[in-house]
């Protein structure tokens, strides 16, 4: 469907928009790169920039530098995986948000809205509480088991919830938005009750795992989990780029998109699966980190307009940028302790979002 002819957006490509697209992506890419360097160089544990450089160069084959063993461990197994996870989380959540907003043709849509996050949350909570019989070793401890079982369950949960909402929302072969949103609300309520029940029957230790995971944190980042989630999120972002043209066509309305030769059902289905994949895997690893999926695409649209060929890559970059920044703040503001990152993203994201809403309230923004 990426090759589907889309004269509407093709026309928009030529002209000023293209320039603005590359400008924006370059700007965001540059900012992200700078932020990643900042994030790698800063943390509660002080490692001088020269030492950071030496450790990184030392890791390259053929190069040998004198490095402090503890500094190297902190950088290689604590800080770097965390920065990588922050990039993946931001990019994945923001792209999931952009896809949902394109799919629902509503800039306020969010994976949490239609039950994707809730499904992932319920499945992960179920594995933590009920899976203890099958998997006695602590599920949050690192290892292949934790790296695979929890994300897989969360993905299954998010996909199941999304498919259920999608099925309910399908009316006479078209996706009815009010029905979908209402189904999402119902699923969210049902999941809330189920999680409440799981919390009630959970043991003290399971409760601890649930709370830690509920707060949202990048602290459990390790390479094994990243080896699973990394390719997955990158794949989702790339696949989402291919959906940009069909989503542009879809924004004209389903009937017109069909006339333009876009397979509307397939586009919707892909957008839903991609959202479930990214959200499920990330929620399992980091818990619920809010507002990125909402704020990043919104900001990109504000800066460069609603073309999905800008919104999707722009959101990935901006989302990554925001989460990396929030995590640097979470790690360094209250050293030697640490703030839950979900608090920071919400504290930064929510007021900004409210400001935008109020700012555009009288200016015809829907």
């Amino acid at each position: 469907m990426s090759t589907a002819p889309c004269p509407a957006s093709a026309a928009a490509t030529h002209g000023a928009r293209r320039l603005s697209r590359s400008t924006l992506l370059l700007l965001l890419g540059g900012l992200l790169a700078a932020t990643v360097v900042l994030a790698v160089g800063h943390g509660a544990y002080r490692i001088p920039p020269s030492a950071v450089l030496a450790i990184l160069l030392d890791a390259l084959p053929g190069l040998d530098f004198a490095v402090d063993a503890q500094q190297a461990t902190v950088l290689a197994s604590i800080r770097l995986p965390r920065v990588v996870l922050a990039v993946l989380t931001g990019a994945g959540l923001a792209v999931a948000g952009a896809l949902m907003q394109g799919l629902f043709r509503n800039p306020l849509a969010d994976p949490a809205l239609i039950g994707v996050s809730a499904g992932a949350a319920l499945a992960a909570a179920g594995v933590i509480v009920l899976g203890g019989v099958l998997l006695p070793a602590g599920l949050v401890a690192d290892g292949w088991l934790a790296a695979f079982v929890l994300p897989a369950a969360a993905f299954a949960g998010s996909l199941a919830a999304t498919v259920l909402v999608y099925r309910i929302g399908m009316l006479h072969g078209t996706l009815s938005l009010p029905m979908t949103l209402l189904a999402g609300i119902a699923i969210n309520a049902l999941v809330g009750a189920s999680i409440g029940l799981l919390l009630f029957i959970a043991s003290d230790e399971q409760l601890r795992a649930l709370t830690f995971w509920n707060l949202g944190s990048l602290a459990s980042a390790h390479w094994v989990a990243l080896a699973v989630v990394g390719p997955l999120v990158l794949g989702v972002v790339l696949a989402a780029l291919a959906l940009a043209r069909p989503l542009n066509a879809l924004s004209l309305g389903e009937a017109r998109a069909t006339h333009l030769g876009v397979d509307v059902v397939r586009t919707k289905r892909r957008a839903i699966v991609l959202t479930a994949l990214a959200t499920g895997a990330l929620v399992a690893l980091t818990g619920v980190i809010g507002f990125i999926g909402l704020v990043a695409p919104h900001l990109v649209r504000l800066l460069a307009g609603p073309d999905h060929r800008i919104v999707i890559p722009g959101s990935a970059l901006l989302g990554a940028l925001l989460v990396v920044l929030a995590d640097v703040a979470a790690r360094t503001l209250v050293t030697p302790a640490e703030l839950p990152i979900g608090i920071l993203t919400a504290a930064l994201g929510a007021p900004f979002f409210l400001f935008l809403l109020l700012h555009h309230k009288h200016k015809g923004y829907r």
């Binding site: 509407a8 700007l27 900012l31 030697p336 829907r366």
Partner: protein
């Protein structure tokens, strides 16, 4: 929400040859000047944010270089910290968790956050050579990272018993290289414990005790089996009035009545949060229990009761005296 005309409107904005600029204006405002301004302002913010954060983090708290052989302890858990101070290792403690409130000197140490949500880099920033942690320390991924970073980790026994306490004293004393101080403290605690036990007189039936945690009106949590409170009540000659579940559970008014406790046991912190004993007895059910009607509410410091530190024999003796199970 995209109203009936929402999608077509956006479609128009995108489809026309001049659609894209028109849409951009539509999003920012009807008139041109504010739109341009707002976008420029946004860009400026976007550029300024990393700079601001850089300024914020460029000056982290720097800890001095570590002289070779120096013992630097980070202590996680109120009971563990108490043991360290009793062993005379107070000056070597460079950081504690937020549950380490006793003795007072422990409150002056840098705090690495709550025992169950530690930050690996945060703890490592204190350049510890030794991490002594209660069983509650976590999350497990962070504990594993700390181990990996070369910090010696000594984990305390979670057993809620005097034997567990003595074992923890020995283990910690060995870890900080003061076995003789450990042996002396063990002997001291054993003597104290023997005199506490000698004073105990068995009561039949044992007084029924309900351990209550209520920091918010309307939310009463009670201790079931396999909790520190349950162990403490039994050590002091009482019987936990709540049986049949492990850990803490919310209490219903009727369950409180059928448990029929002779004593309500709670923490000073909880009572302070609630605003007094009267507030506790105002909770559904609690005031109507035998303990509530007779006003038998026992209030103690949370760490003193449940910390599992060297004040355990004293806590048992104090409770036994109040239960009437000691001479």
């Amino acid at each position: 929400m995209s109203g009936p005309d929402g999608a077509p409107a956006r479609g128009r904005g995108m489809s026309g040859p001049d659609g894209a600029p028109a849409r951009g204006r539509g999003m920012s405002g009807p008139d041109d000047a504010p739109a341009g301004l707002s976008r420029r302002r946004l860009l400026r913010w976007a550029a300024a944010t990393p700079a601001l954060l850089l300024a914020g983090v460029a000056f982290p708290k720097v800890t001095g270089p570590k002289p070779a052989g120096e013992l630097r302890i980070v202590s996680i858990g109120g009971g563990v910290t108490e043991i360290l101070f009793r062993l005379g290792a107070g000056p070597q403690i460079v950081g504690t968790d937020t549950t380490s409130l006793y003795p007072e000197a422990a409150q002056a140490t840098p705090k690495v956050g709550y025992a169950r949500s530690l930050s690996a880099e945060g703890v490592l920033a204190l350049r510890p050579t030794l991490l002594i942690a209660s069983a509650a320390a976590g999350p497990p991924a962070v504990v594993a990272q700390l181990r990996q970073a070369g910090v010696t980790l000594v984990q305390a026994d979670p057993a809620h018993s005097v034997e567990g306490l003595l074992e923890n004293v020995r283990r910690i004393a060995a870890a900080i290289g003061r076995p003789e101080a450990g042996a002396a403290l063990v002997a001291e605690l054993e003597t104290e414990w023997r005199s506490v036990q000698a004073a105990m007189r068995v009561q039949a039936p044992a007084p029924r005790v309900l351990f209550v945690l209520s920091h918010v009106p309307g939310n009463v949590q009670v201790a079931g089996e396999e909790t520190a409170a349950d162990a403490l009540i039994r050590l002091a000659g009482g019987r936990n009035a709540m049986q049949g579940f492990r850990g803490f559970r919310p209490l219903s008014a009727e369950a409180a009545l059928s448990a029929a406790p002779d004593f309500l046991l709670t923490t000073r912190q909880g009572i302070e949060a609630l605003g007094g004993e009267r507030q506790l007895l105002a909770q559904p059910g609690l005031g109507l229990t035998p303990a509530g009607r007779a006003g038998r509410v026992l209030v103690h410091d949370a760490l003193f009761l449940l910390g599992g530190g060297p004040r355990l024999p004293r806590a048992v003796a104090e409770l036994a005296r109040q239960f009437g199970t000691s001479a």
